[in-house]
Symmetry: C2
Subunit: 352 residues, 2 copies
Amino acid sequence: MTLPAGHPLVDGRTSASLLVRAMRGDRPATRPVWFMRQAGRSLPEYRAAREGTEMLEACLTPDLAAEITLQPVRRLGVDAAVYFSDIVVPVLLAGVGVRIVSGRGPVVDEPVRSASDVLRLRPLDPDALAPIREAVGIVVDGLGSTPLIAFGGAPYTLASYLVEGGPSKDQLRTRALMVSDPHTWAALLNWCADVTGAFLRAQVEAGASAAQLFDSWMGTLSRGDYQKRVAPHSRRAFDALRGTEVPRVHFGLGAGEVLDLLPAIGAEVIGIDWRLPLEAAAERIGAPLPLQGNIDPAYLGAPWDLLAAHARDVMRRGDALPGHIVNLGHGVPPETDPDVLARLVELVHAEP
Amino acid sequence: MTLPAGHPLVDGRTSASLLVRAMRGDRPATRPVWFMRQAGRSLPEYRAAREGTEMLEACLTPDLAAEITLQPVRRLGVDAAVYFSDIVVPVLLAGVGVRIVSGRGPVVDEPVRSASDVLRLRPLDPDALAPIREAVGIVVDGLGSTPLIAFGGAPYTLASYLVEGGPSKDQLRTRALMVSDPHTWAALLNWCADVTGAFLRAQVEAGASAAQLFDSWMGTLSRGDYQKRVAPHSRRAFDALRGTEVPRVHFGLGAGEVLDLLPAIGAEVIGIDWRLPLEAAAERIGAPLPLQGNIDPAYLGAPWDLLAAHARDVMRRGDALPGHIVNLGHGVPPETDPDVLARLVELVHAEP
């Protein structure tokens, strides 16, 4: 499929890029590839740039966040940048006390567990997003015709950090609030949807060419709870992008049980983890959407031949899709050798 | 269904118990109920009994392990005891250095990550299981006609502790070994199957009336990897029970994608977490097996009416099964109020 003349994106900066074409349902001869969490941990130039700067401070320093976002594009030859940030950044900008504790993750000063805790949450002042807009502007200038993907955490995952107060294996306190107090839950998830929606929208208005919502913890939910108590809020987050026309990408870890519900939340591209082969995922989704994924990160440390065979297998399974953006089934593990990622990009670009 | 006269279990100590009858496909008028992790953390008498004793030391002290196993039967009125232990106990008894670090979980002194690491693993000396047999003997004497369920970790979950060296969110190192070095992987999983199989068998020979294999991490696997690289080893663990005739129960967290593969590993009863309703799980399994579960532990802290309605809904969904043992969809959370568990047992026993 070729976009018709007169389409609002035909003359855009990135509309001819492999990524945007594939996300809009085109099948370019070369398949686009990028990696979730490519900006950060595994790159030595990232560790050098971050030295002496706390994670959230780095996210809010425009020059530094822009530099970290650009690093993997230069080194790996990927077809997109993804905005370097943390899912709690918009929460912090809305005034909630939160820090990233090394080796542990985000820790919230005062966990949000009651109706009165939720009432104390204040809306995100659009002016607070100025450093984000500034960083995205620098990134977009540096990228030229390479697209930037906006990054945001889905309401359920955001809420789970707020309720648990930190990382948790099973989100039990979060799910307990969800089933015990539906009104407080809905208010909390709406707040999360609004802050993450504003965060995504700021990135798009400043020049991002696509927007991806990450729901890291949705796999801990039953289908019924996802459908009734979570999906409407993920939809609300995507709705914040109304009128912007960028492709909306949804990635959820362990989302196999609810893939068919994702088109209705507004997802136009769906990221698939390593648990399901692409053709099985496409069948469950039902709607003919481009898919993103699903190389198993466990292969990144395997002998090259095994990784290459696995990547080619994923690409063959992607052949019949309406569009396929090659990616991992989860973020780049910190110990990954960047040379392996660069070689993987070459392989994807050389394969039909 | 009533067991025919002459059946080898008809005259057994526990063969008329609600649990054993339900696990053999009978539908007693009162439905049996017990709780995964009922022995331990949430009971004050457990914390008192454990005071000053390390976790693994408690597991290997027969009087203490037996007392802890019996406590929830006395307090909660459940229809079965489950043997108090830790999945790394047979690993420790086979000579691997491992400790339980409070708030973190099992930590292995020297993680197992290479062919030579696996070669160094030694078989479990049956004599080392003497404290387990002794504890089970005390429990069985104390239980009378109430059955004891033997407890063991599945090979994949056991291997993941050995490879990661401690708890991990995604079992990435474990899965990397699995895809990188299939021969080392198979040798490691066979070793795990043999130690956990011997551990289960010792409990059954000493008087346990059923045996449950726990695969806490199987939800991190793709269906293909589970089928090819894990299921044969879980089968090997169950095969260690050959000739014992006790019902074999399999519980895997996030097992939705592979439920149909579980009858072939030898599971005769299947535990279902909270992600899928029982009727959907039964449909996927295909074979007419009794199911165990699947009350969502997130409801344990909810107002009683909500928990009661949820428990009744689970029971209604279990009505059409060939057998239903009521349980949680995961272990009892440490902060659970024991009175809520006792009230839940009363509810289950009062419902048709």
